[in-house]
C-alpha cells in the first residue's frame, strides 16, 4: 500500500494548482456575484486539455486516469465551486456516459469533440417528479421510422444552455418502470429542443442550471445510447463516476475554506494577540484538517478503485457521503472562525459555504449514498 501520488500525478496536481490560482481564482467572486458562466475559463481549460483528462487519446482525450481528473476537480474547487462543477458535469456525466456506454461510432462523433474541449457536455435525468426516484420519468421517446421523437422536460440540468451535447433519459416503455428507461444523445440546436430560464441558486451560481424542454424533438435512431430499456443502468453507472467527481469537488471546497481560515487566524488579532493563539481556534483547525485528510484518502481510493477496473459503486458512495458532509461542516466552521468577516463576500468563505451545500444534494443526495452503502452491507 502506497499513499503517495506518482510523479506524473504530482506534476499534474501542480499544473492544476497553478491553473486554478492564475486563471480561476481571480474570477471566482465575480462569477458568483453576477451568476456569470465563466466561458473564458472553459475555453482555457479546453486549450490545456483539461476537458478530456480521463479519456483515451484515440478519442481526443488526454489518456490519463480518474485520479488525475479528481485532482483537477479538487484544485478548481479549492478556489471556485462553479468552475469545478462545470468540469465535473462535463467530464463525469456528459462525456463519461458516452465514453462508457457509447458505440465506437458514437464515441468518434460525440466523445471526440467533448474530450478535446471543442464542445461541452451535460447529462439530463432529473424531472419535476423524478429525482431520487428515477423511475418516475415522464419524458417519453417514441420510435418513428428512423427517428426517435422526444417529448417532455428535464429540470436542474447543469451546463444547460452552455453545453452542446446532452445525454437525455426518457421512457420508451412506461409500463416497464426502470426497465422502460432509455438514454439518448441530443445535440443543442436540434429543432424541438429548447431551454428554460436559468435557475437562481444558493451556490455554484456561475454554473448554468436550466430546464430542458422537448417538444416533438426528432433525433436519429442511432443516437440511442446503450440498448433500449437499459437507460437506468446507463444513468446509475454514469452517476457512480459522477459521485467521485462531486466528492472531489466537496474535498476541494473544504480545503479551500481551511486555507482561508488558516491565513485569517494568523492575521486577526483580538485581546492583543492573533486568534491563532487561542486553543479554540487551534482545535477547530485540527478537527477540520483531520476530516479533510480522512476524506482525501476516501476520494482518491474511490478513483484508484475505478482506475483498477474494479467495482467502485460503494467506494464512490462512501467518498461522496463523507466529502459532502465534511465540505458543509468545514466551510461552516471557517465562516465561524472568520466571524463577521466570514459573512462578508470579500472573504470568500461565505461563498464556499453556499457552494458546499449542493454537494449533499446533487448526483445522489446523501440519503441515496446511505441507501447504496447500507444496501451493500445488508445484501
Amino acid at each position: 500500500m502506497d499513499f503517495t501520488l506518482s510523479k506524473e500525478h504530482a506534476m499534474a496536481q501542480q499544473l492544476f494548482r497553478d491553473f486554478a490560482h492564475r486563471e480561476v481564482e481571480p474570477l471566482a467572486q465575480e462569477v458568483d456575484e453576477f451568476h456569470r458562466f465563466p466561458r473564458e475559463t472553459v475555453d482555457k481549460m479546453a486549450r490545456c486539455g483539461m476537458l478530456g483528462i480521463p479519456f483515451a487519446k484515440e478519442y481526443g482525450g488526454q489518456g490519463c486516469d480518474t485520479l488525475a481528473y479528481v485532482l483537477a476537480v479538487e484544485e478548481m474547487a479549492k478556489v471556485c465551486g462553479t468552475t469545478s462543477v462545470i468540469l465535473s458535469a462535463h467530464t463525469s456525466l456528459g462525456a463519461g456516459a458516452i465514453d462508457r456506454f457509447g458505440t465506437a461510432d458514437q464515441k468518434k462523433k460525440y466523445l471526440t469533440p467533448l474530450a478535446t474541449g471543442e464542445k461541452l457536455g451535460a447529462f439530463a435525468l432529473t424531472e419535476p417528479e423524478a429525482g431520487t426516484d428515477a423511475a418516475g420519468q415522464q419524458t417519453k421517446a417514441v420510435l418513428d421510422g428512423d427517428e426517435w421523437v422526444i417529448n417532455g422536460s428535464k429540470i436542474f440540468i447543469t451546463n444547460a444552455g452552455e453545453a452542446d451535447i446532452y445525454v437525455v433519459f426518457a421512457m420508451t416503455d412506461k409500463a416497464q418502470g426502470t426497465r422502460g428507461i432509455s438514454a439518448f444523445i441530443v445535440e443543442k440546436g436540434t429543432p424541438g429542443f429548447e431551454f428554460g430560464l436559468p435557475e437562481k441558486k444558493m451556490g455554484i451560481r456561475g454554473s448554468s442550471t436550466r430546464e430542458l424542454i422537448f417538444i416533438d424533438c426528432r433525433i436519429p435512431k442511432e443516437n440511442l445510447l446503450g440498448r433500449e430499456g437499459k437507460g437506468f443502468g446507463v444513468a446509475m453507472g454514469t452517476l457512480d463516476g459522477g459521485r467521485i467527481g462531486i466528492a472531489a469537488q466537496a474535498l476541494g471546497l473544504a480545503e479551500g475554506a481551511l486555507d482561508k481560515a488558516v491565513a485569517y487566524v494568523k492575521e486577526r488579532k483580538q485581546f492583543g494577540r492573533p486568534i491563532a493563539k487561542f486553543q479554540n481556534t487551534q482545535f477547530q483547525l485540527a478537527d477540520m484538517k483531520c476530516e479533510i485528510e480522512a476524506t482525501r484518502w476516501m476520494v482518491y481510493h474511490a478513483a484508484a478503485t475505478k482506475d483498477a477496473g474494479q467495482p467502485y459503486t460503494v467506494e464512490a458512495a462512501l467518498a461522496k457521503l463523507k466529502a459532502a458532509n465534511v465540505a458543509s461542516d468545514v466551510t461552516r466552521r471557517a465562516v465561524q472562525l472568520l466571524g463577521g468577516y466570514g459573512y462578508i463576500q470579500e472573504y470568500d468563505v461565505e461563498r464556499m459555504m453556499r457552494d458546499a451545500k449542493i454537494t449533499e444534494i446533487y448526483e445522489g443526495t446523501s440519503e441515496v449514498q446511505r441507501m447504496v452503502i447500507s444496501g451493500a452491507l445488508l445484501k
Partner: protein, 260 residues
C-alpha cells in the same frame, strides 16, 4: 529545423530566504521551478515548432533531481530531453558550466540554441553568451521577439531605452527574456507521456567531450569572495507641496542626477 533549449532548475525565489550569517540562499525545503527566462525560451522554441515545424530538444546541467524540470519541458511539448549530470561537474561557475554545456550541445544537431537571459538564483547572464563563444556562433542576447526567415533568425533585442532588430545567420544562439511570451501550460496528457512514454537521456562525464581543466569546481576560475544580502536603500522622500511645486521639485532632482 533543430532547436536546442537550455533550461535550469532553480529554487522558487518567491519562497526563498537568505541565511543571515552566510549570506547564501537557504535552498532546503524550497520548491523548485523552471527558470522563468528559460521557460520563455522554451515557449519561443515551441511556437517556432508550431509555426514552421522543428524538433525541440531541451538540455540541463544539474543534479538528478533536474530530471523533473526536463519532464516539465517534455510535458509542454519538447521532443527530447538531455540531463548532463555527474559529480565531476559539481561546483561549476559560469565558465565551467558553459564549457560543459557547449561540449554536450556540440554532440547534437542544432540550428538555433535558446537560453534564458539569466537564472533567478545566480543572475549572471553569462552562460548563454559563453556557450555561443565556445561554439563560435553568433549570439543575440535579451530577445523580446523572435522569428525565423530562411536561414536567418531575426530578433528584437531589448535595451533600457530602445530596441535593436538584429539578424543573424543560423546556427545562432539567443538569450530570451521572460517578457518574450506567456508560456503555455503543460497538458495532463503531456505530463503522463513525459513520465510513461518519453525518456530523459543521461549524459555523465564520459559522454561529454570537454577538458578536465574546464569542468566542475576545479575548472572554475571564479572565487566568491563574500556574499551578503542586498542592503536596504535609503527611504524615499515625501514632498508635501502643491502639484506645481512638487512637479518642479521632481524635475529639478532628475536634472540634478542627470537623468533628464
Amino acid at each position: 529545423m533543430n532547436i536546442v533549449v537550455c533550461i535550469k532548475q532553480v529554487p522558487d525565489t518567491n519562497e526563498v530566504r537568505i541565511d543571515p550569517v552566510r549570506g547564501t540562499l537557504i535552498r532546503e525545503g524550497v520548491p523548485t521551478i523552471m527558470n522563468p527566462d528559460d521557460k520563455a525560451g522554451l515557449e519561443a522554441a515551441l511556437r517556432l515548432k508550431d509555426e514552421m515545424g522543428a524538433k525541440v530538444s531541451v538540455i540541463s546541467m544539474g543534479p538528478m533531481q533536474a530530471d523533473l524540470v526536463l519532464r516539465e519541458a517534455l510535458a509542454m511539448g519538447a521532443d527530447e530531453a538531455y540531463l548532463v549530470t555527474d559529480r565531476a561537474f559539481g561546483g561549476a561557475d559560469t565558465w565551467a558550466t558553459s564549457c560543459t554545456l557547449a561540449a554536450a550541445i556540440s554532440k547534437m544537431d542544432y540550428d538555433l540554441i535558446i537560453t534564458g537571459r539569466q537564472a533567478i538564483d545566480g543572475d549572471t547572464a553569462q552562460v548563454g553568451p559563453e556557450i555561443a563563444e565556445h561554439l563560435q556562433i553568433p549570439n543575440i542576447s535579451y530577445a523580446e521577439a523572435v522569428r525565423v526567415e530562411g536561414d536567418e533568425v531575426v530578433v528584437k533585442r531589448q535595451y533600457e531605452d530602445r530596441y535593436h532588430t538584429v539578424r543573424a545567420k543560423m546556427p545562432a544562439l539567443l538569450t530570451a527574456l521572460s517578457e518574450l511570451n506567456d508560456p503555455r501550460y503543460m497538458t495532463p496528457g503531456g505530463i503522463f507521456d513525459a513520465f510513461r512514454e518519453k525518456t530523459v537521456t543521461i549524459w555523465t562525464r564520459a559522454d561529454v567531450p570537454v577538458d578536465d581543466g574546464n569542468i566542475g569546481l576545479n575548472g572554475s576560475p571564479t572565487r566568491v569572495f563574500r556574499s551578503f544580502p542586498k542592503t536596504v536603500k535609503a527611504p524615499g522622500m515625501k514632498i508635501e507641496e502643491g502639484v506645481d511645486e512638487s512637479v518642479q521639485f521632481v524635475m529639478d532632482k532628475l536634472r540634478e542626477k542627470y537623468i533628464l
